[in-house]
Symmetry: D2
């Protein structure tokens, strides 16, 4: 396994500083694992993300996927605040359990100008995915020549 | 223009009761217009949705699109709390301005079991779309025979 | 309406020469209309595209959408053989009739490096769309500086 | 590994009879492997699928993905001619080599009314994917209760 360009600690500092709205002590989001081009992140089962019926809402899941994708990009190209999502496609597969959600992102293709990634999402402790995401990021020219 | 199954007032009551997390006085979301199978909703330019650089974040835009889609479904089939998103695809087209965001949703196809919709999103007062969304909802069998 | 960078005749010559597999007298594909950033193309109701039951197959519809998207790109940036599709998302809305299919493509966003487009597809003479496509093209750097 | 509802031989007979346009001795398509909810299929490097530059065209890849998805559905629910694609999203990742293409499909979620699948596509003998597809099928009510 190749070492990430930014380690977990570096990522946490960068994200706390650059994206305090998404990543702060009360956001319920944790980075669990980072490798080069991939990561696993967690969203705590918080009251504020819950829909009637007790499951985590679609928008909360999309927000977590977006976060996981950004961490995966940073793990491969370093602290690039300007990498932007150009497309995100999510399939909701199963009703989430009343548990934390884990999102595992990995890069399918890292090009000079584009990164294409996928995310598998799970309810904590369960095997069947609750959602699958694919997404494309645009990487600014100055970053990668 | 065909009248919606639920008028704007009915929708606001239903959503306040069923989805208080998404729709409450401080959420910054307003329903501006409803017709049968379509709507226009607004997200106020709130500090909490802002990314570094001053633009509204991708997840806030996805949350607004999700809300517009749900209103459009309700406008055509009535108060069905169980209609669920099965797929959402978003293309981010332009950096949003430092303004409110408008989302205009309409149904492309309403079947017995599925509704397919699209959303065009704009910065308030501007002509060029900032994002385009397509999405499919599953409609529970009891609702539509 | 702004004039296309390549007129209908120029497009037909270019495509016959560069993409004879997709565009030739027996392909059943016709360009009906071109404007700057948009077009309407037609697929004849040919035996070879027909599924059991008499409707045009999904892959034939995707092939037609792909063709319409490429014509729309060419209409806006000129003869760029290297523009490539990076993403295509299609929602199949209704069973096609036993008729020709029309595809209307337009550019939602034309940037320096990316073009995002949508296509609405119809059975000839009918109002309700049978499919909706969004797609992103990558534009090579030499073309647009 | 669970046995498929239809074995490879049964699938070949069914598809030759029901989809002769897509699956016939000259189509260049072969089923290589089938399991319950998954398959690997091959598209021969045929002159007719080739773009200028010598690579297999996008529409030929979408046609192969569509075929793989249908085989995966059949492997899990049996000979259901009426299962229909409602959505297909493809990310083109790398230029294909001048070789056969392999498509590996698997079901992410098999519900009563919907199946969600993904396909990874490769140039024969190479490790990096050339395309990734997600797709949703609608399953007719009579089939699955």
């Amino acid at each position: 396994m190749r070492a990430p360009v930014m380690a977990k600690d570096d990522l946490e500092h960068f994200l706390s500083r650059e994206f305090p709205q998404a990543f702060h002590p009360e956001s319920g989001i944790l980075i669990e694992h980072v490798e080069h081009g991939g990561c696993r992140v967690r969203l705590a089962y918080h009251a504020r993300h819950i829909r009637p019926g007790g499951t985590i809402s679609g928008p909360a899941m999309m927000m977590l996927a977006d976060f996981a994708l950004y961490v995966a990009v940073l793990s491969a190209i370093g602290p690039v605040a300007l990498a932007v999502t150009i497309n995100l496609n999510i399939n909701f597969l199963r009703r989430p359990a009343q548990r934390d959600i884990l999102a595992e992102a990995r890069i399918l293709k890292l090009g000079k100008r584009l990164a294409v990634m996928e995310v598998h999402m799970f309810s904590d402790g369960m095997d069947e995915p609750i959602a699958h995401v694919t997404s494309t990021y645009s990487i600014p020219p100055e970053t990668r020549g």
